[in-house]
Amino acid sequence: MTEPAPAADLPEDVRALIGKAQYHETATFPVEMGYSYNTLAATENGNPLYWDFEVAEQLTGGMTLPVSTLSLWMRPHRWAPGATGEQVALKTHFDLKERLGLPEAIMSDNTLIGYEPVRPGDVISHHQVLRSISDVKTTKLGTGRFWVIDVEYHNQNGDLVGVESYTGFGYRRSTEVNS
């Protein structure tokens, strides 16, 4: 796919990140059903594929997890021994906020593609690729830039389990509020 040309006024070190795979990381804990149940409960999702072992065994050869839980395995604990500062997921997104001086951010678009099903006991790894950064834009939230970050997820066997693409908007509010 052809990516748009990088915005001309971007710092060189930021331009250099475009297309570069970063943050090759492996989850700190294996996939477990508890988070599946949390997600299913939060959305009142009664799909028996995820609740009934016999249905899961019949259809997929065992329990799997909802594809929408893909990203959670790579999200760090809010706190961990020895860690300092806020632990965040999708670090490329937070790097861009800091480097471009855009204190606030939201996600505007998400694409989620499911491949090999994720199963309890899997250990997920991922990497992130910054695909593009827009020119400066102004929305109702403030002035900033949109960026697209792709994330590719694999299991412990190297099988591709999913790909996500996020569009984030980092911005500075029109009337900046200090925190």
Partner: protein, 180 residues
């Protein structure tokens, strides 16, 4: 009255009772075509809904649980549903319709406005097309909207695999036979 419609408001009823997805052979590809309308799903969003969804997806960012942060720092009206939880709601909406043999290949959604506590969010979907790919997998493309009152909050396009007949099972497809 449509059993999925609230008698009091005429809008889609709340909660999981709106749809039942316990059958494994709920829909096969032949039963759907462009224009097929999915049953709507309405849900009353509370602060608990937002926080449950954020924590379930291990999203600890404060705009999804801290009203003061969301309003004073982010400039939003309230805490709001986070992106992975929205994906989970789309997943629930789609598989409520397909049953467990439905296998989501791809979800692409745009968040046009946030979903806040106090909103009655309504999912509505229409099949835009069907196909059988070269490996024999049956697919339906579905356009979905999420509204809250007169606000269009999200639009989504989903590509979901459906069994082509009573013996087919999209979950058996692997590697080159799975083209999401």
């Amino acid at each position: 009255m449509n059993p999925q419609t609230s008698a009091a408001t005429g809008s889609p009823a709340t909660s999981s009772a709106a749809m039942d997805n316990t059958g494994t052979d709920k829909i096969v590809l032949d039963q759907v075509s462009a224009g097929t309308v999915l049953p709507p799903l309405g849900y009353d969003v509370s602060a608990t809904t937002v926080v449950l969804g954020a924590l379930a997806s291990r999203d600890w960012r404060p705009m999804h649980h801290d009203h003061k942060f969301a309003t004073e720092r982010n400039g939003t009206a309230d805490i709001f549903l986070n992106t992975p939880n929205l994906a989970a709601w789309f997943e629930r909406y789609i598989t409520d319709w397909t049953g467990p043999k439905g296998r989501i290949g791809r979800l692409t959604f745009r968040i046009r406005d946030s979903v806040f506590p106090g909103d009655h969010m309504v999912f509505a979907g229409t099949v835009s097309g069907t196909e059988i790919d070269e490996s024999g997998c049956g697919w339906a493309s579905v356009d979905i909207s999420v509204t809250a009152g007169d606000r269009l909050c999200c639009t989504c396009t989903a590509r979901v695999a459906l069994p082509t007949d009573g013996t087919d099972n999209p979950w058996t497809r692997r590697s080159e036979d799975w083209k999401p």
